[in-house]
Amino acid sequence: MAAGHGSEQTLSVAVSAAAPARPPISAARLRRFGAEAAYLALGLLSGTLAFCVWITGVTLSITCALLIVGLPVVLATFALFRLLAELERKRAALVLGAPIPSAYRAHEGHLGRRLLGALSDPQSWKDLAYLGLFGVVGFVWGTIWLTVWAYALGSLTAPAWWGALPDDATYLWFTLDSTTEALIAPLIGLVLLPVAVLLQRGLAVSQAALARLLLAPSLAARVEQLQRTRTAAVDTAAADLERIERDLHDGAQARLVALAMDLGMAEERFDRDPESARELVGEAREEARRALSELRDLARGIRPSLLTERGLAAAIEALAARSPIPATAHVDVAVKPAPAVETAAWFVVSEALANAAKHSEASHVSVWLTRRADTLRVEVVDDGRGGADPSGAGLRGLAQRVAALDGTLEVYSPRGGPTVVQASLPCA
């Protein structure tokens, strides 16, 4: 369920961005507009769900908590709340640009300990508060949004449908029963349209602010999380250095030794067997070429040269052009992110494209890079058969690389496709 929900958001973003976006309405604005609409529409659904779950869960828990046998019910309720809260954190990405990070304390062991852990985690109670409030807010905000849009669009199109109304039907505050009135209605629609757009912004932003207030981890939890990711980052860096040393040792260095060996032997042979000496020199040259190419690959694995020379957009477009599956890149990054962020973004795209080429059987891949506020968002979407394994070495390595920058990586890939790889990298 978690993955399915996540996908809807991801795809709605991709689809809204895919709409034709020529000036005067910029692609970024249209994308944000679509994201807000999706956010509120989904909020209407998840708010209703939260309302039902909250009422049922709280009532059941209070009743059952009186009995020892009821404890599993309480635990299950907290687990369900946590799941809903996690979905809400992901949904918030539509407006905030990145999912709200979650930071629960880890609790393992028997039922009682897990229950105590869940009860003692302040975030559990904040989840409870959020879901209770959101059960109302999500529904009410969604309804207001839907109503305003219905009137705005309805009024604009009134001349087309007013004839179908019964004679005494009231529209807004007047009865819509003459051609004149049917022509006034679109004027009201014209006024309502910008109101609807602004109201949508306000509703979406306020709802997301509520989510951020109650669902974002406390400072202490955040520090704990940063400590964890920093340790992981240091480990990753050490492992990278070890890999590079080994690649050099077994690659270029070994080739250069072989080259020296060939040249040494050739030197010995020149007098007595010039023909075989010449052959050895040829082999030596071949080894030199391979050593160079291995050094080049190694350097590229550290930081792609085009990224250094031409910047993010050029490097991503070059990746798309090189992809065996036709790929289009949409890079909308006005302010240059830090080099580490660029490198991570490049590796996410590179790995996702390579995976798509290897496993997806897709016919097309889209790459999106957008910088919104302090977040660089990377999205690679293919139309292949899905089923990608996020625990594979490549994707796990990517997740570590992204986590090292305090970002998040999400992979959505149900059987049958499509596959969406999405990374949010903070640029502040």
């Binding site: 080994r246 040792h249 077994d250 260095q253 070994a254 080739r255 030794v257 072989a258 020296a260 060996m261 060939d262 040249l263 040494g264 032997m265 030197e267 010995e268 042979r269």
Partner: protein
Amino acid sequence: MRVVIAEDLALLRDGLARLLRDSGIDVVGAVADGPGLLAAVEATGPDLAIVDVRLPPAFRDEGVKAALELRRRRPGFPVLILSQYVERTYAAELLADGSGGVGYLLKDRVSDVREFVDAVRRVAAGGMALDPDAVSQLVAGHEEGPLRRLSEREREVLSMMAEGRTNQGIAAELEITPSGVEKHVAAIFTKLGLPPAETAHRRVLAVVAWLNP
């Protein structure tokens, strides 16, 4: 002469075998790991083993460990270690038993075929061949105990002994007479307090003293 090679990279293993055969040395075994080396030496009874420091499974110092095990089973068995880097520690461990027959060279040295083959023969005969790089690490390191009593010239002579040079070779390099070198060598033995023994053995002991100050 018959040798066994232990090197995990086929590129270098084959190249080394070809180079040795070219120079009239019989390669009776070429293996890729430590256990393989021990088995090949048992099976073929060669005169020398040429061993890479990093071998499977962990690619750390398995080659050095295998060489030490080989010399534990067959004291004084000549071993020539090849590596991309030289570490004083490994040289000290290999020479610690004082029985000689130890070489420790950078892989680069194989490009000078004649000198490399010389080193191979010297080690097989129970001599030494420490890489000039390893020796320069020793020179750079601080010296304690009896080594401090050596004169500048005596240190130079000692470092050349570590590389495996003969008195004639040292004399030519330093542009002094062979009898001058002999005097320096005798002074080194005395200052390091080495007991009277066969000269080749004392040379090894002098280097060991240097490696383990």
